[in-house]
Amino acid sequence: MTDFKVTPLSEDSFRNAIRESTSPRAVYDMAPGEAYTKFFEGLREGKILGTKCPSCGLVHVPPKVYCQYCYLPLTQWVEVKDEGFVETAVVVYIAAERERLEKPEVVGVIRLEGSGDRYRYPGLMHRICTEPEEVKSSRIMGAKVKARWATERKGSINDIECFEVVSWK
């Protein structure tokens, strides 16, 4: 085995190294815009609202004032049922720096009923209130879910606490 001549770094070496830390302060007050404002007003009333494209018929949830596929302005608002089906879901065990969460969280994409095709549909990425085992076993896929509404709603996406399973596929 070869002997390498090395100079080990001590704790002091790190402590005495010259460094400069910087803390970005970035604060914004963003306009949600016409579409999200109406959407959040709907959530406050316990309704999921979307905008319907007059050309392709797609109901946009979350809503937009234009159809990104047909490039037409959207002015027709429709209410979408607060029920849908789980398109996909995962169990999240870690936070951003890979530190283990005390309680894992289930996150999924919910296809809401009403319109769309295989890839484009009114839908929400949100929490799913179910046991991690139901996700690991893939039983959650395709399950019918319904919004669990917060008791105190203030016009935010968190007015929906999560989606709960109503029936299994």
Binding site: A26, M30, G33, E34
Partner: protein
């Protein structure tokens, strides 16, 4: 094979207000884009080959903000190219893309919503060297610009009265614009009575902020002629970036603009641009910058003479910002260069130079009817 010519066929805008609280930036871009497309009967889903979007993450408050660019332009699932810089750089990129022959029609957008940035000064501070300059915690980013202003005024032998002539004339020009909420008939005397804010600069030397979005449509020659009877031809482009450290660059002159303009003028075949140009649309985020650009581009020998004689006024031989600049319109961050280009297109009566200078990056366009 003849080189491909590139023309601007249309533009649209939204905003130019100190604050647009009712619309998101995407809805503002959609409005601007819809107007730009409607003028020339384009459907972006089928008729526009690629899209360029100019914005910066820190101003947007969104990391990897390019992902938020396509939808409102009609560019979903199509080629979208993002530029972290002023809109004129986006125009130059689109120009080059069309020159390759691979694209016929390209839409370029830039927008700014500074009204939503609550920690504006801190975001500006993030643009400074984090190791050496930021820890000095100078009170504001205006400090650097004031140093440039002082050095430039010394280099050009300009007085506060001279700056006042420019500010007064440009803000009056803005009164003729339909997107200049800060235009006014400010007199030189009123200007001179303003309290100094930083170095030689007072309140009216600093552009206020505004929320705005602009979308331009560029096309290859054949397609441009099909779409409009009056394209604005781009005959030269140039850009350059100077050092960010103030002690490493010449503060009294804008060498980046000098280099960028030489590149653009050479392409446009302008041997004596000071005589050949009919107008200049200059960056005006600070009053002195417009004058510094005119000087740095070599358009005048001694700034004092044309400034004091009125040659740079809108009726002069080399008018600058004939409908006002950022002092009148407000500064919509990355969209300022496109605002200058819009004015150039509106009043196009000869060959003109359009300049933006954000940070230390300059972009120069030569346009003509």
């Amino acid at each position: 094979m003849d080189p491909i010519r590139v023309g601007i066929v249309s533009y649209g805008f939204s905003g130019f207000s100190p604050s647009v609280p009712s619309k998101s930036f995407r809805e503002m871009v959609f409005e601007a884009a819809s107007k730009a497309y409607a003028k020339v009967g384009l459907n972006p889903r089928t008729d526009v080959d690629a899209f360029v979007s100019c914005k910066e993450d820190f101003w947007e408050g969104i990391s990897i903000t390019d992902e938020f660019a396509p939808d409102q332009l009609g560019g979903a699932l199509k080629p979208v190219f993002t530029v972290t810089g002023d809109g004129l750089l986006g125009i130059i990129n689109a120009y080059m893309m069309i020159k390759t022959g691979a694209f016929d029609v390209i839409a370029v957008e830039a927008h700014g919503k500074p009204s939503e940035v609550m920690s504006y000064g801190d975001i500006e501070r993030m643009a400074q060297d984090p190791i050496y300059l930021r820890p000095l915690a100078f009170p504001s980013y205006h400090t650097v610009k004031a140093l440039e202003a002082r050095a430039f005024m010394k280099y050009s032998n300009l007085t506060r009265e001279d700056l006042g002539i420019y500010v007064s004339q440009s803000k009056r020009n803005g009164l003729l614009s339909n997107r200049a909420p800060h235009a006014s008939s400010l007199t030189v005397d009123s200007y001179l009575s303003e309290r100094e804010l930083v170095g030689p600069l007072s309140h009216s030397d600093l552009a206020p902020r505004s929320d705005a979005a602009l979308v331009f449509v560029l096309a290859s020659e054949g397609r441009a002629r099909e779409l409009t009877d009056s394209p604005t031809w781009i005959t030269g482009v140039g850009w350059a970036t100077d050092y960010h450290t103030p002690s490493y660059r010449e503060l009294g002159r804008d060498i980046a603009t000098k280099n960028a303009s030489e590149m653009a003028f050479r392409q446009a075949g302008l041997g004596d641009p000071g005589k050949q140009l009919a107008f200049v649309e200059a960056d005006e985020r600070y009053s002195f910058m417009a004058l510094m650009e005119v000087s740095s581009m070599g358009l005048v020998k001694d700034l004092r003479q044309p400034l004091r004689s009125g040659d740079l006024s809108r009726d002069g031989s080399l008018p600058v910002n004939r409908r006002g600049g950022a002092l009148s319109e407000g500064l919509p961050l990355e969209a300022h260069g496109l605002a200058r280009l819009a004015s150039a297109c509106d009043l196009l009566d000869g060959t003109g130079a359009v300049v933006s200078n954000m940070g230390n990056t300059s972009a120069v366009l030569v346009v003509r009817p």
